[in-house]
């Protein structure tokens, strides 16, 4: 029997190969490029020399609303909806390896699009180099939201992508803007904390990172339970 690690690697490799041969990467590239174009245009048109870093962050979080949905939710949702999981789950592999393998293949892609987008957008708009903390923030945010997207796709495969976008639009982004402790439920809020967008201490950044991981981890746990019981 193939080991769990090898299974995960193989599924990740196949997922990446399929992604590269499709058009989703191009669409993701267009989405990731939008904040760069915006920042450049805004910088050109604004009276002051630099723009507010918060504006660029706001657009980057919108990119975070779309990319995990495009790559993770749609890939897993399509796999379940098209019943190609029958090929995987009739093999002697643990069921969780399919979900984890997909994440291993796709999360780096999401991060690989978000981070350069953030870097170039800030360069174009504010002539600034992003801090290491902000890179870490968006990486952790992309990771956590990918876990959320994966689970939503296992729960509602046909509309996983749409529901992930709705989750961001109607829950994560608005809740992150609320005062009080409800904010802790929002990944984008934690991203802003880690990236030093809000008043923070080193401790709060650490707690925010933990918050992201906890939210993502909780969703992943639901996804793993779901996948364990899912019938093809």
């Amino acid at each position: 029997m193939i080991g769990s690690l090898a299974t995960t690697r193989l599924i990740a490799a196949v997922t990446l190969r399929r992604l590269v041969r499709g058009r989703a990467l191009w669409v993701g590239g267009i989405v990731a490029a939008m904040p760069i174009a915006f920042a450049a245009l805004l910088h050109e048109r604004q009276a002051r020399a630099t723009m507010n870093i918060t504006d660029v962050t706001a657009f980057e979080t919108l990119v975070l609303a779309v990319l995990p949905a495009l790559f993770v939710a749609s890939s897993i949702g399509e796999e379940i909806e098209d019943r190609t999981t029958t090929y995987l789950w009739s093999r002697p592999i643990p069921r969780w390896a399919v979900l984890v393998g997909k994440l291993v293949g796709l999360v780096p892609v999401v991060i690989a699009l978000v981070l350069p987008s953030w870097f170039l957008a800030l360069q174009a708009g504010a002539r600034m180099t992003p801090s290491a903390a902000s890179f870490g923030a968006f990486a952790v945010g992309a990771f956590a939201l990918s876990l959320v997207a994966a689970t939503i796709a296992t729960l509602v495969p046909k509309h996983g992508m749409a529901l992930m976008i709705c989750y961001m639009l109607f829950f994560d982004l608005p809740v992150g803007a609320l005062p009080g402790s409800l904010q802790e439920l929002s990944v984008t809020h934690h991203v802003r904390v880690i990236a030093d967008m809000l008043d923070r201490t080193a401790e709060s950044a650490g707690l925010a990172a933990l918050g992201c991981i906890l939210i993502g981890g909780l969703w992943l746990a639901i996804g793993l339970v779901r996948v364990r019981r899912l019938e093809a």
């Binding site: 499709g22 058009r23 989703a24 669409v27 993701g28 267009i30 989405v31 939008m34 904040p35 174009a37 915006f38 245009l41 805004l42 048109r45 604004q46 009276a47 504006d55 706001a58 657009f59 919108l62 990119v63 609303a65 779309v66 949905a69 495009l70 749609s74 399509e78 509602v156 046909k158 509309h159 992508m161 749409a162 529901l163 976008i165 709705c166 639009l169 109607f170």
Partner: protein, 313 residues
């Protein structure tokens, strides 16, 4: 085929009389009755669109439920805060009753519910048909491309009207219902046609534009992602750009364009920190979006008809 002793056999005469009765062939027969007028084929497509949207919970009912909640909240706000002043326009010296601003303020929320429908249905309609090979079925029959385009558009409009027209109309009705007296009621009657106009314009935009995106990409998920990125990211971008440059640029943001028309119709014309979108630009933006979207769908469908697209993949 006859039997040795079948019906009609007469032992006395030794002959078999001709059987009385008729045998009905119950096998397939080509339909020879009246047929629907070809010009109404689009209605069949529209009806099918609505029926299939209503079938499952996540396709339409969830967004419809959201619209119902928005209606209930807006209605509740109107009923219980009728004597409160709205914050809208306060900085510019406008003093408006919350009861009067609830309806125009709620339009943006109905637009969000409409966006949800566009995600679950609108932005994947044509791409799904391309992927599944449905065009083979359409064009193997006497369905013309424009039947398909009109049918799909009409179906989407019917669904979105339930959110973008019905919801605001209910709130408008409530507003009329809480009028102080008959004179006020008569004065407020124009909000009904204004609501209809706004609802109609928003319905057309939220029906057509996602359809256009679904025709842009042959893959469902890519079409959906592009539409979401256009609506959320690009829309926010042009709105922010519009704040610092021309307000007309901000009209490319669909919900803001709808909101601009709403504010104009309800005479909520005041300057604020928001981008000042000229009404003409908002109308032109929505009209332009609809025209381009319909053109895209028409082109894709005609192309599918010409190339015989239909291979299921």
């Amino acid at each position: 085929m006859t039997e040795l002793e079948g019906p009609g056999f007469s032992p006395e005469t030794g002959t078999t009389e001709a059987p009385v009765g008729a045998i009905h062939d119950l096998g397939y027969k080509r339909y020879l009755g009246t047929r629907r007028d070809p010009r109404t084929r689009w209605r069949v497509i529209a009806r099918e669109q609505v029926a299939s949207a209503w079938k499952f919970w996540w396709r339409f009912k969830a967004a419809f439920g959201l619209a119902a909640i928005i209606t209930a909240i807006a209605g509740g706000m109107m009923l219980f805060t009728s004597d409160r002043k709205s914050s809208l326009g306060r900085a510019q010296g406008f003093a408006m009753q919350l009861i009067d601003t609830t309806l125009p303020e709620s339009i943006i929320w109905f637009c969000r519910a409409g966006f949800v429908v566009s995600l679950t249905i609108g932005a994947t309609v044509v791409a799904s048909d391309v992927q599944s090979g449905a065009f083979t079925f359409y064009f193997a029959r006497s369905v013309k491309p424009h039947h398909y385009v009109i049918g799909k558009l009409a179906g989407m409009c019917a669904l979105l009207a339930l959110i973008l027209v019905a919801g605001p109309l209910v709130i408008a009705g409530l507003r009329l219902g809480v009028s102080d007296d008959v004179d006020q009621l008569v004065d407020l009657l124009p909000i009904l046609w204004k609501t209809l106009v706004i609802g109609g314009v928003a319905t057309l935009a939220y029906a057509a534009v996602p359809l256009g995106f679904s025709a842009l990409m042959p893959n469902r998920r890519n079409a959906l992602a592009l539409w979401a990125a256009y609506y959320l990211v690009f829309g926010a971008m042009v709105y922010e750009l519009g704040k610092v440059s021309s307000g007309s640029l901000a009209a490319l943001d669909l919900p803001r364009a709808v909101q601009t028309i709403t504010y104009a119709l309800f005479d909520l014309n005041f300057r604020s920190r928001d981008a000042q979108i000229p009404v003409a630009a908002a109308v032109a933006s929505l009209a332009g979006h609809v025209v381009v979207a319909v053109a895209l769908v028409s082109y894709q469908v005609r192309r599918a008809q010409r190339t015989g697209v239909g291979g299921a993949s």
